[in-house]
């Protein structure tokens, strides 16, 4: 995929742009597989798989480093303009988003290993459901990138609201359980971090959707995302404050 189907007069430049797109697509595929494995590890309480996900994150870090170097080289040697420039700068941003998605998948896997040491708690079902929703968005956004499909990117962008709502709902479920059954606090605390990580993965998918819009059309997404109800927003802020306090050094 290149910004336009027709080729540059300098064929090697077209080939380099194609290489860049391919590298982003491959990196996206790896991140998506990491996320899928992390979900399987939660679902099947498979700590060995979770370890493999954590170990696999370095591959994404290396890919991001390679893409950064490739982008710098293209900027220096080709001095791209217009759609080519947007394509290259977009790739740089997207690779950084993918790297963060990989980090969150690894974090989820790390906590899965701890959660697996405790008895299974009921809200895990909600966590898995949320993870699948997020994974669907990640998958869709990479499809949108490969196809340069702005409509598909918009769908992902709009779809993040459902992720946020699910985060709020699972958060409530976990809080209720912790109040009712204090024995579950250790497991639920880790699950709280996990849903926060998944919510951030959704945000990165949204960022990628915005970048796709920019690199295809040259303009940012102009519409405003549907607003949450103020009650849901307040609740989310509470949830954020709560998880932040948990994350601060003890």
């Amino acid at each position: 995929m290149t910004p336009k189907d027709d080729l540059h007069i300098v064929r090697s430049f077209s080939e380099e742009l194609q290489t860049l797109s391919n590298r982003i697509a491959v990196m996206g595929g790896v991140a998506e597989a990491q996320l899928a494995s992390a979900i399987t590890a939660i679902e099947s309480r498979d700590s060995e798989l979770a370890v493999r996900v954590v170990d696999g994150d370095s591959e994404l870090d290396d890919m991001e480093t390679d893409i950064n170097a490739f982008v710098v080289r293209l900027l220096a040697l080709r001095q791209p303009v217009a759609a080519d420039l947007r394509h290259i700068v977009g790739a740089l941003k997207i690779s950084s988003n993918i790297e963060r998605i990989g980090d969150y998948a690894a974090n989820v896997a790390k906590r899965t290993q701890i959660v697996n040491q405790f008895p299974q708690v009921r809200p895990v079902g909600g966590v898995i459901e949320m993870a699948r929703l997020v994974r669907g968005n990640v998958q869709a956004v990479f499809d949108a990138y490969v196809q340069q499909n702005v409509e598909k990117a918009h769908d992902v962008w709009r779809g993040d609201e459902a992720v946020d709502e699910m985060h709020t709902s699972v958060f409530q479920e976990l809080m209720t359980l912790m109040l009712e059954e204090p024995d579950t606090v250790p497991a639920c605390t880790h699950l709280l971090f996990m849903i926060k990580n998944l919510e951030r993965v959704g945000d990165h998918a949204t960022n990628i959707a915005e970048t796709i819009q920019f690199l295809v059309a040259g303009k940012p997404i102009s519409a405003e995302r549907p607003k949450k109800s103020s009650a849901a927003e307040a609740h989310e802020q509470d949830a954020d404050a709560f998880t932040t306090s948990l994350e601060s050094p003890r």
Partner: protein, 271 residues
């Protein structure tokens, strides 16, 4: 002098400037060499004290159009210019307009530096003298020095003003030609690929000079270097096969051009 300006037309997608002060304007300009049309229905506004670059593949009409602004095309017998071109709202093609006076107000710098086979001093002094801009030697000295200063050349040549202009390096010769253009106090400077015969350092000096000059002059530059257009101009006009395809802020043209043709040309996809 006809003060009317034809109704603004959105010809070939060229947005005409509305709020900025307009120095030069072209309305429905068509230029033909005998039967062959080199430019078709071009409409453009050139903003005062800005640099406007004309880009486009060879034969697109950009140099032909540049030469319309100081009636250089008058010197070509088979060339016919139709439409209106105004300088400060006055039609420069009106019968009672003297092309020599127009060329004093609209100076030109060419692709290859072309100093007269005379001293550096005489290269600059020639214009002011024939246009009767000076009364005595002191005046002339003043104009020669200030023109060389404005062209960023004074420091390099002040001790050898009697040396032949042709003894300077290519870049210095080009700055000498710019100084020569400035010496008759023009309002507009037209530049036809002024750096294409120069090395990158001399090119950078000319580009720096262009940036300084736009404080006082309206500049139009024809260039084959897209990077140069991006570096020096505030507005860019793209020509193709005699049509003005797109004209807009340089930043927009090089990040998000409106037309597929512009996109294809600046990214090097032109087949």
């Amino acid at each position: 002098m006809n003060q009317e300006v034809s109704p603004v037309k959105d010809t070939a997608g060229a947005p005409l400037v509305s709020s900025d002060p307009v120095k030069l304007a072209a309305r429905d300009v068509t230029v033909s060499y005998a039967e062959k049309k080199a430019l078709i229905d071009v409409n453009i506004d050139i903003v005062e004290r800005q640099v406007t670059s004309f880009i486009g593949p060879s034969g697109c009409g950009k140099s032909t159009f540049l030469r319309c602004f100081n009636r250089m095309n008058d010197t070509i017998d088979i060339c016919r210019v139709e439409g209106r071109i105004t300088l400060d709202n006055e039609n420069i093609y009106d019968e009672n307009v003297d092309p020599v006076q127009i060329r004093a107000r609209i100076g030109m710098v060419f692709q290859k530096p072309n100093p007269f086979p005379k001293s550096i001093f005489e290269n600059i002094a020639y214009g002011p003298r024939i246009h009767g801009l000076v009364t005595d030697k002191d005046d002339l000295d003043e104009i020669v020095h200030s023109s060389l200063e404005k062209a960023g050349l004074l420091k390099e040549v002040k001790d050898r003003l009697d040396a032949p202009g042709t003894s300077l390096s290519g870049g210095q010769q080009q700055r000498l030609c710019i100084a020569r253009a400035i010496a008759v106090s023009p309002e507009v400077i037209l530049m036809d690929e002024p750096c294409s015969a120069l090395d990158p350092i001399a090119t950078a000096k000319i580009e720096e000079l262009i940036d300084d000059l736009r404080e006082n002059y309206t500049i139009i530059i024809v260039t084959h270097s897209m990077q140069q257009a991006a570096r020096v101009s505030q507005r860019t006009a793209f020509f193709h096969l005699g049509y003005l395809v797109e004209c807009g802020d340089t930043e927009t043209v090089f990040t998000n051009p409106e037309h597929e043709l512009t996109q294809g040309y600046i990214t090097g996809r032109f087949g």
